[in-house]
């Protein structure tokens, strides 16, 4: 298949970049380099197919708004790292897995089904508190900042502006 043809140099470049970003921000890529590069190739395939890097291990809808929570790094990475030492696709792992003390495995899906996701979004819209500025929360890493608008890119995990929610 045509979309499977990805230049190795392109995979290596993205691997190096994600590796650097992860290590620089307290995250770790899976030390199984062959497995990890396969996932990175899949991220490139999904970027070409959908226009964004949807999680390789989840079925993307192709509608960016619906898929925002599963654009890599997904909204569920931190919770899965805490509970299972790896994110859902195991691109990111805990320090224990990086050091070889634990093994990353196939874990249960944490993403709620579509109907529940819709309810969740409705529940979250609330009245802003009496503050001079709104507080924005990065849904990927939890970074908080008080400013008129969220930043273009999260200074911690590099997630884009559309991954922020108004927290207060």
């Amino acid at each position: 298949m045509k979309e499977q043809e990805i230049d190795i140099a392109e995979i290596d470049r993205l691997y190096e970049r994600l590796f650097g970003e992860a290590e620089g921000t307290g995250y770790h890529l899976n030390p199984d380099v062959e497995f990890t590069k396969q996932l990175i190739k899949s991220l490139i395939i999904n970027e070409r197919r959908y226009g964004y890097r949807a999680c390789p291990c989840r079925l993307a809808s192709g509608d960016k708004q619906d898929d925002l929570d599963i654009i890599c790094p997904c909204d569920y990475r931190d919770t899965d790292l805490n509970q299972y030492d790896a994110c859902y696709c195991a691109l990111y792992v805990s320090d224990a897995v990086r050091k070889g003390e634990k093994k990353a495995g196939s874990i249960p899906e944490r993403r709620p089904p579509p109907a529940e996701r819709k309810r969740e979004t409705q529940r979250k819209s609330r009245q802003p508190a009496d503050l001079p500025l709104p507080v924005w929360r990065c849904k990927v890493c939890g970074y908080l900042c008080a400013r008129e608008q969220p930043p273009e890119v999260c200074p911690i995990c590099k997630a884009k502006k559309d991954r922020f929610e108004q927290f207060v």
Binding site: L39, S42, L59, C89, A90
Partner: protein, 93 residues
């Protein structure tokens, strides 16, 4: 039917719903290949329109969260995720 048939030892009727991009799906597929069993698989992410919807409905019947890989054995048992030991054991029976 859009499923791809892989010939091999005929022990169970095996249907694997997978994503072409998923690491755990490839490990599951490789396990079936290594075991040399006969199976069918479908890369749901490579389907379009009605075919994709039909596959998703089918997966949901077995696995409401519609996650991958979803392995259906003999139209009776379903194993979600790359559960190597569980898959080996179920196929031995």
């Amino acid at each position: 039917m859009t499923a791809v048939h892989i010939p091999g030892k005929n022990s169970h009727r095996i249907m694997l719903y997978a994503l072409s991009t998923c690491g755990w799906c490839s490990k599951t597929k490789k396990l079936l290949d290594d075991l040399g069993v006969e199976y069918d698989y479908e890369y749901v992410d490579q389907l379009q329109g009605d075919e994709k919807d039909a596959a998703v409905r089918k997966v949901r019947e077995w696995n409401p969260s519609c996650s991958f890989p979803t392995l259906v054995l003999d139209n009776k048992k379903c194993i979600v995720g790359y559960r190597e030991d569980e898959i080996r054991e179920a196929l031995q029976k």
